[in-house]
């Protein structure tokens, strides 16, 4: 029987982390080198954790499927990173950052974790500046801040539109330093295909060398998964092509619980889908909504070009419905409204799944130069992709999946329900609740990796009894056999449909039934469709090539096979949570005006799902959420 114990320290909220750091067991400096930690993933969380634990003296092995740690998708984050520095003197504080994050998460996150996140946020900025990250500066030489959605203070630090890149390169530099010192052993082009547990503890991983196809066993005293989110279950998302849920899913199959899988974030301003060949969606910064006005024609299926639609035949629906916030409503509202209006037949563009984001009024008011200064690079990016000129014709945008708040369930120490198995960054569930605020993903990844995990992993390792387990242990042999049998099976099917073909179908199913709006009927229908699709995959997929060299189709097939299983958790979770909160909108749970309606009485808990077998119904465990500091309230943006 799995028992959920969040291990939240006693004491007042603001002292929990300090007390906890004092309370945890420590590992003597000279003993640290006796422990080996395997870190999977080299994004912000993974790279920073590996580097920091190596600095502390642990033996660290780091794994990435990319050719180099620097490719991880953290690199694509544009906007910035939050911290409670209060340099602009606008009333920010640790408590306010904590408060905003809990509220922004629509009261579905764990207060103690969020408070710790806000506490270490300032240290992250200190550390990153010391690493030589070229943050934007004022003319006086001080660090610049900008404002971001969901907050009324300016607390976002940024490096042009490439903050994620710069922070990742900082962590990557730290990792490369440890690699050169020999304290981190790096495995590139190496993908996790199973987690090995012995006596209920995580003791290692099985990997596939993506160049030689070799299956390798790695033993360690603790395993850290920093393997990102599962947004690619939707096929089309703003995630990188190789992002996948496999590591988390394989861990789940080995006993780790998966928390809140239905919490996915849909970003409102992305470039719409424009063809069935499309592989990926591109996000346009949220800042565009500061000056752009969103509208659709008042007439259904109006095929006239935007310029020929007179002013009084345009419906500025956000301004109409939310007069006080207008185009600046939070992400989830903006996304949902775009979907509703397109579903009702008012959408524009070749597919009808797009709305206009119009700058003509702003250009008229401020002049083209001012708009160019603010958004020049974004307009250029848009032009490059669509060949349209946003200075002359309105942009077309549509929401797209871009972050997943759900993830492996972890306690306050970031340990999953499998002792010795940790999950950090987007791979865990803890800090963002049902909706993540802009510029908080980078903060959380680095908080976990630089400051939290290195101070909690010792609590587990200190008690660990030394044993002589090595890779010849039967558990490793069995895990390797299972994993490679699965690969052989995939290669042997030689069916008629490509992996992408199945992935696309899965994505469409998930997008339609578990995307921006979910209903009981739709979810139930999807739960019926999914096993059929899974069976079709396992009988008709065509994976060319062999398993003993570089085979991208095989890699993909292995990941899609996991998505096909994992998707069921999302659907079940969405079905169970018969309330609307944050990114999760259940059609059955809305106010008379059509706004999301939370049900705190029934659903103020974390859903943690236990795997019971493919196609078997998973078991739901509930971690009740208690709000001591931030009073529960319904959001309103009218």
């Amino acid at each position: 029987m799995v028992e959920l114990n969040a291990n939240i320290p006693e004491g007042p909220m603001a002292e929990k982390w300090t007390r906890h750091k004092f309370g945890v067991k420590l590992v003597n400096p000279s003993n640290k080198r006796k422990y080996k930690v395997l870190v999977v993933g080299t994004g912000l969380a993974g790279a920073s954790a590996a580097a920091t634990m190596a600095e502390l003296g642990y033996q660290v092995e780091s794994f990435t499927y990319s050719d180099t740690p620097r490719r991880a998708h953290s690199i694509a984050a544009q906007g910035g990173i939050n911290a409670a520095k209060n340099y602009p003197n606008d009333g920010d504080s640790t408590h306010r950052l904590f408060y905003d994050t809990v509220k922004g998460g629509d009261y579905r996150s764990r207060e103690a974790n969020v408070h710790r996140l806000a506490e270490v946020s300032n240290q992250i900025i200190d550390h990153c500046v010391a690493q030589g990250i070229p943050f934007a500066r004022e003319y006086g030489g001080n660090l610049a801040n900008r404002s971001f959605g969901g907050a009324q203070v300016s607390r976002t630090f940024y490096a042009r539109g490439q903050t994620g890149q710069q922070l990742l390169l900082g962590a990557y530099g730290a990792l490369q330093k440890e690699i050169s010192k020999g304290s981190v052993k790096m495995h590139t082009r190496c993908e996790l295909i199973d987690v090995v547990t012995i006596d209920g503890r995580a003791r290692g991983i099985i990997t596939r060398n993506l160049v030689s196809g070799e299956i390798e066993r790695h033993v360690g005293d603790a395993v850290v998964l920093a393997t990102g989110g599962y947004g690619n279950v939707f096929y089309l998302s703003t995630n990188a092509m190789n992002c996948n849920a496999s590591a988390a899913w394989r861990a789940c199959k080995k006993g780790a619980l998966f928390a809140n899988p239905c919490f996915t974030q849909i970003h409102p301003t992305c470039i719409p889908v424009h063809g069935d060949y499309q592989s990926k969606l591109t996000l346009m910064s949220e800042s565009l909504r500061n000056d752009g006005r969103i509208w659709v024609p008042k007439k259904k299926s109006d095929s006239r070009p935007a310029s020929e639609i007179p002013e009084d035949e345009r419906d500025y629906y956000l301004e109409r419905k939310y007069p006080s916030f207008g185009n600046l409503v939070p992400r989830d509202l903006a996304s949902r409204n775009a979907k509703e209006i397109c579903d009702a037949g008012y959408g524009v563009g070749p597919t009808g799944d797009a709305v206009y984001l119009d700058f003509s009024e702003a250009i008229g008011r401020l002049g083209r130069d001012a708009i160019e200064a603010r958004y020049g690079n974004l307009f250029e990016m848009y032009n490059r992709i669509t060949d349209d000129n946003p200075y002359e014709t309105p942009m077309m945008i549509y929401p797209a999946v871009h972050y997943t708040m759900g993830g492996l369930w972890v306690d306050y120490n970031l340990m999953t329900t499998v002792p010795g198995l940790y999950a950090i960054g987007e791979a865990n569930f803890s800090d963002h609740g049902a909706n993540r605020l802009g510029a908080s993903a980078l903060m959380q990844g680095l908080a976990d990796g630089y400051f939290v995990l290195p101070n909690t992993v010792n609590n587990y390792l200190a008690d660990l009894e030394r044993d002589s387990v090595d890779v010849s242990h039967p558990a490793f042999v069995k895990a390797e056999q299972t994993a490679s049998a699965k690969l052989d099976k995939l290669l042997a099917i030689k069916g008629t449909r490509t992996v992408d073909d199945f992935h696309r179908e899965l994505g469409l199913l998930m997008w339609n039934e578990c995307g921006m709006a979910r209903s009981e009927a739709g979810l139930k229908k999807a739960l019926e469709e999914l096993p059929k699709l899974r069976d079709a995959f396992w009988s008709d997929v065509n994976v060319p090539g062999s398993g003993d060299d570089l085979n991208q189709a095989l890699e993909k097939a292995n990941r899609v096979a996991d998505f096909l299983e994992f998707a069921e958790f999302m659907l079940r979770d969405a079905l169970d949570r018969a309330e609307s909160c944050g990114g999760h909108f259940r059609l059955e749970s809305q106010t008379e005006e059509g706004e999301a309606l939370r049900d705190d009485e029934a659903f103020a808990y974390v859903s943690a799902w236990e795997f019971k077998g493919v196609g078997e119904e998973p078991v739901l465990h509930k971690e009740p959420l208690v709000f001591e500091e931030v009073p529960l309230s319904q959001r309103s943006y009218k």
Partner: protein, 253 residues
């Protein structure tokens, strides 16, 4: 976004690990001009798979021009254009119906071919390993606002730091040199006070590693800067040279 379909002939480099490679010709038919270059390759690969052939291996990940994974020489140009964009940002509307394109991997001695269009660029990581960072232990940093940095310097450091490590500079260089890559990192830290304590050792070690790994020399021909998708300027190479000279002349304490 005008809809248009084009047909292309592709001469693609195919190579298995440890074997000789050769060009093979494929037809890319009915390609939407709004598709990206990599999406065009996806279509070709789907067709190859359905025809029972092995798809073309090419590296890619973010498909929005920041991860640095993708890259191939298309019609003689790294990333297919010299328009400050990566291969994933190149769209098919840049090509005409009936075009014949040669697609080959980034070639350099320091970048051995792994398969088809995929090369091993780990040498670039080794250059970074030998000094492309500021040695600061987590937790030991002073308050971030302690050292103000002149905006010009912060901006210039950011210009250098924009490198995505794609290796186009090495591929474009007639000498297979990694000077632009190395100089970008050296430059970033030379411009910031945080980089000062390790300034001399950083440039020495990084240049030494670069030499050891079989990259060529810079002959100041600037092909790298034309190829760079992020517009990294050759002024960083000049700064690298200055830093290198200074590392020798600076007084030892």
């Amino acid at each position: 976004m005008a809809e248009k379909k084009i047909n292309l002939t592709l001469n693609v480099w195919r190579q298995q690990a440890g074997q000789e490679g050769a060009f093979e010709t494929y037809q890319a038919e009915n390609i939407d001009t709004n598709a990206s270059f990599l999406e065009m390759l996806d279509v070709v690969n789907e067709n190859l798979t359905c025809a029972g052939k092995e798809p073309i291996a090419f590296e890619h990940d973010c498909r929005e021009g920041i991860c640095g994974s993708c890259g191939a020489l298309v019609a003689g140009k790294t990333h297919g254009s010299h328009d400050r964009s990566t291969l994933c940002q190149l769209h098919m509307r840049s090509f005409e119906d009936g075009d014949e394109l040669t697609i080959e991997p980034f070639r350099a001695d320091a970048f051995p071919v792994i398969k088809d269009l995929i090369v091993d660029r780990s040498a670039l990581d080794q250059i970074v390993s030998s000094g492309g960072y500021v040695s600061v232990k987590t937790g030991s940093a002073p308050e971030a606002s302690t050292i103000p940095i002149e905006k010009n310097f912060a901006d210039a450091a950011m210009d250098a730091a924009a490198c995505i490590g794609c290796g186009a500079c090495v591929a474009a260089c007639p000498n297979g040199s990694a000077m632009l890559f190395t100089s970008a990192k050296v430059s970033q830290f030379a411009l910031l006070p945080q980089g000062a304590p390790e300034r001399a050792s950083r440039v020495k070690e990084m240049v030494e590693t670069m030499d050891r790994l079989g990259f060529g020399n810079c002959s100041n021909e600037y092909e790298c800067a034309v190829a760079c998708p992020k517009g990294i300027d050759v002024k960083h190479i000049a700064r690298l040279n200055r830093e290198f000279i200074a590392s020798r002349t600076r007084k030892k304490k």
